[in-house]
Subunit: 451 residues, 2 copies
């Protein structure tokens, strides 16, 4: 029996302790819990046998750092995870309380189970096992665990930008993504970037009575509708001039691999999405649409009267939250300018429309032939007993861009979540057999890298 | 000096007393004030010398009734007004408190000054003057003053429908509209009807992460935008099949009269509306667009995330409040069916869309040659010293339809508000010289009708 097999109960108890801390980063009242979670992680790193384990204090929630640099001549891996979690609302939809970890059917249910406490814990326990059984690691490692991932991660970005020497490494391992399917070892080699902002539209300088002025007064809600429809047609084709010029299509090999992925579109539509139809540009496959094509999406809209009953107002203003997901090699700043120009071009008469950017992140795409990726694929295949698949993710992980830009290193997105883990939703869970295999896979990865 | 001239100060004090009562019909905490206002009106009717002055109790806020039926063989006029008012919000924008009537520059500022306490008071004082000086009236009159006009007026409608014998009359006089311009005697001969309801759109059965699902998941906000744009083009032309088939265009005579109205479009756009451009179907004149053409307007919209910052959600549902203003001879029920059919036809893939009607009112159009209208025009012209103009109103006054349907009588819309009276807005006011002339005009109207 290996160390990892012998210690499963202890690992599970440790993870439960971690999950009981309601470290909700967006909630100012949880500041003490955030600190408790950071200290818990630092303690775990120390017990695992890492050096320099402790908190990096600065603005915002503390970063947690630890390293082991006793393998000169060997590569250095920077492990990234986060100890903060999303708010648990709506509480009434949880079958067991979000901060009382509960096992049902081989799954551990709790907020943060998969995103990202469980995955962060995998990294720590993998290193602990090697250090406890051998007294050393096959490569050098650094841990950088943050507490603001769910609120934008701006302070970790600032730290990476300002102290690159403290984080010197050859590759990062980001453990915050999903496997494509249960038991299917997966590496994510592409992430979409994002530009997120607000579209504000103003018409008359005050609310107007729709009886008296309806027929001549500009309506900012109708104007937002016209702008949204002008920027994206009914088939989901984005109509922003120049917007897709830099998009790199997936290689034939990548497309062919996606076509071989085990996937039931009907089940995806009915169970995972729960809609009567999938939409989007029909000239691209489903995986292209979610992984390799940019989007323009409206996330929220507000304007006028939305209470009970009726109020016949033509509102003076309306607002929509929009994002563009970007794919390599699109650039956030350029996309913002293109969107602003397009909004100005299609803005209807009688209103003023302005797009104001809130945040952005560049897309990323890693070469699957990169040696750190190939080593990861080999380690995963060995532990899971199946060939590793390469996918992309439609989401954005801004830290990957920071590691690239400020440290000059690629990120290996080796994640152990599953598609039904209910991230950011009630009844978040982690699949325990995958949790334990994840620990072994990360340990084996370090062995492969160590040669 | 006439009775009306002698009693100006007393009339003004009486109106101020009326305006001090915060009879906000939509506010359940103002129930006592509503009753005080009703009793104030009943007391004024009694003091004016009317018979049967008192409250009609039933569901909702009380109606106030009074009559004088001592002129057999002469016509009977049903006077309508309302004693309830809109809420005063936003309070901070009032220059003097909304329920402390204050005179500035010949205007009396208070919530309800023009809509409709001041105008209701005109009717009462006109009758009072005739009864006090002559002991009788030239025609028979009934008063029906309600307290729910600002919240839909459903109980007065029910009373009119169920007790038509109690309200037997030859014509109604509704004193709740505006003059086209200061000093310009005005009769309103057409009102738009309305259908108001909610458009509810549902996509996936739960909120989705826009990174993971953006590109394939239906977006209910985008769907509402597509529906709004499909139902009305960028030039404001409504695209609902059959919708305008019953629309009666204004006569050449009416159009020519509108073209002669004193009107500065630039001032209207800049000062009254406060927008950079007027909009709407360019194949119709401005007055046609607000008075003689139907509209489709969105009054409010809600969906997804609209808080501070960013949340990358594709919401499961979204909602918009819509109305259609109708003109003669459009029918509310038919318009609802046409809209529902059009929504079904243009609804994008992947979402379900449903329009649910909340309330409706038929349009009305009175023949300017009707003798009650002609008499009113003559009386107004005499008092104001200028020819009376005929206009329409883009708004809806549902009671006019009730009088037509249940009592079989036309309504004379003789109003004394001015376009800058700030109805339903902060700093509502009534122009005092017009208030006093209104009293004399109504008295003269009764004289003209009495022969």
């Amino acid at each position: 029996m290996t160390y990892y097999e012998e210690n499963r109960d202890r690992f599970l108890e440790g993870l439960k302790t971690f999950l009981r801390i309601p470290s909700i980063s967006t909630d100012p009242e949880r500041k003490d819990d955030i600190r408790r979670a950071a200290e818990f992680v630092a303690g775990e790193l120390r017990e695992a046998g890492l050096d320099h384990a402790g908190l990096i204090e600065g603005q915002g929630h503390p970063l947690v750092y630890g390293d082991w640099l006793g393998a000169p001549g060997k590569p250095t891996i920077l492990f990234y995870g986060h100890y903060d979690v999303q708010p648990p609302d709506p509480l009434e939809e949880w079958k067991s309380p979000p901060f009382e970890p509960t096992i049902r059917d081989n799954n551990l249910y709790a907020r943060g189970a998969s995103d990202d406490k469980g995955q962060t814990y995998i990294l720590i326990k993998a290193v602990e096992g090697l250090l406890k059984t051998r007294g050393r690691l096959p490569v050098n490692v650094r841990f950088l665990i943050e507490g603001e991932e769910e609120v934008g991660g701006e302070h970790v970005e600032a730290y990476v930008a300002s102290k690159p020497a403290n984080l010197k490494a050859d590759a990062a391992v980001v453990c915050d993504t999903e496997m494509f399917a249960p038991d299917l070892p997966t590496l994510c080699v592409g992430l979409r970037g994002i530009v997120y902002g607000e579209l504000r539209v103003e018409g008359a300088d005050h609310d107007l009575h729709s009886g008296v002025y309806g027929g001549v007064a500009p309506n900012p809600i109708q104007a937002i509708a016209e702008i949204l429809c002008a920027l994206k047609d009914r088939d989901g084709r984005i109509q922003i001039p120049g917007f897709t010029d830099r998009v790199i299509p997936p290689s034939e090999k990548e497309s062919a691999a996606w076509a071989r992925l085990p996937f039931d579109e009907r089940e995806y539509r009915e169970k995972e999405i729960g809609a009567s139809d999938l939409v989007g540009d029909p000239s691209h496959t489903l995986f292209e649409r979610v992984w390799a094509r940019p989007t323009l999406e409206v996330h929220g809209i507000r304007g006028g009267f939305v209470g009970e009953g009726a109020k016949t107002v033509i509102p003076a203003r309306a607002l929509a939250k929009l994002s563009m997901r970007l794919v390599a090699d699109q650039r956030p700043e350029e996309a913002i300018e293109q969107l602003k120009a397009a909004v100005a071009r299609v803005c209807p008469r009688g209103v003023k429309a302005e797009f104001k950017s809130i945040h952005g992140a560049a897309p990323s795409l890693v070469d699957p032939e990169n040696p750190f990726i190939r080593a990861a694929a080999a380690a995963l295949a060995k532990v899971f007993g199946r060939e590793t698949v390469y996918i992309r993710s439609g989401g954005s992980i801004p830290i990957v861009g920071s590691f690239d830009r400020h440290l000059g290193i690629p990120s290996v997105l080796m994640g152990f979540g599953l598609p039904d883990d209910n991230l950011h939703a009630p009844n978040e869970k982690f699949h325990l057999p995958t949790f334990f295999r994840g620990i072994e896979a990360v340990a084996r990865y370090l062995d492969v890298l160590g040669g």
